[in-house]
């Protein structure tokens, strides 16, 4: 069976303040005169290596684990997952 790497990004939902992202924007990026940048959101990335039959199967399984074990808190966070074959 092929090996996949599923990268899960956990970030605050829109509307939930993100002081880390705001600080990076205001006190670093905008001070560097990059006025075209309007927003930065900080997050956490978890990379799962998994053996599965298909790409979709790998992604579904990892997202199910994230839901069941509350890897992210659905009240304030959202997850997005991308898959690549190793």
């Amino acid at each position: 069976m092929p090996n996949f790497q599923v990268s899960v990004v956990i970030e605050n939902k829109p509307g939930i303040s993100d002081p880390e992202g705001d600080t990076i924007l205001k006190d670093l990026v905008l001070k560097g005169n990059n006025n075209d940048i309007t927003k930065i959101r900080a997050g956490t990335i978890l990379k799962f290596s998994i053996t599965e039959k298909t790409k979709e199967g790998a992604k579904d399984k990892v997202l199910k684990i994230c839901d069941e074990l509350r890897i992210y808190n659905p009240l304030v966070s959202k997850v997005t997952a991308t898959v690549e074959e190793l």
Partner: protein, 226 residues
Amino acid sequence: MKVGVIVFPGSNCDRDMYHVLTDVFNLNAEFYWHEKNLPSDIDAVVLPGGFSYGDRLRAGVIAAHSPIISDVKKLAEKGIPILGVCNGFQILVESGLLPGVLLKNESLNFMCQWTNLIVNNNKTPFTCKLQMNQKIPIPIANGEGRYFVDDESLNQLKKNNQIVFSYENKVNGSISQIAGVCNSDGNVVGMMPHPERAAEKAINQIDHKPSSLIFESLIETIGMKN
């Protein structure tokens, strides 16, 4: 009357809590490692502060999957008083026993300072000897203490009288300055500040009596039951 103090890998306020329960308030307390079971005849349970699992992933989330939490849930359903302090509050929230979530402080800093709490609900097993709006001088020590719930849940908390403590002043960006909440039955209480660090005169030069009343409330509650 037996109080269980749960110890997780990384708990560091467990001995302070045990000392206050036993030496200051003469309660019969016992430590319970998080992989053990809690006796079904226990009278109260305390989840102490600390950094369970080094706050990895999110404060309290890994400890919320500890085997002992299923016993805590059963006891909570039976109406047994359960108190979570600091990391204990985070664990209760992550295990679904209390509503809301504790985010990183607005400053992103670990905050260790004295604050004033205001009592918003004096009907819980841990606040029944306090007066409404009574002020409690008490320390906080946390990095993830910013309480958050969505607007609908906040309205529910207010309606059901589930906000137990709020900060007198803005401290860390908590919504409605909430410092402690309870479940809808009122027997499970979580709070970010540390009553075990404020209930003795030797370590609280401002006024140790209000924090003492948190423990005296518990004694009154479980004493009445036995």
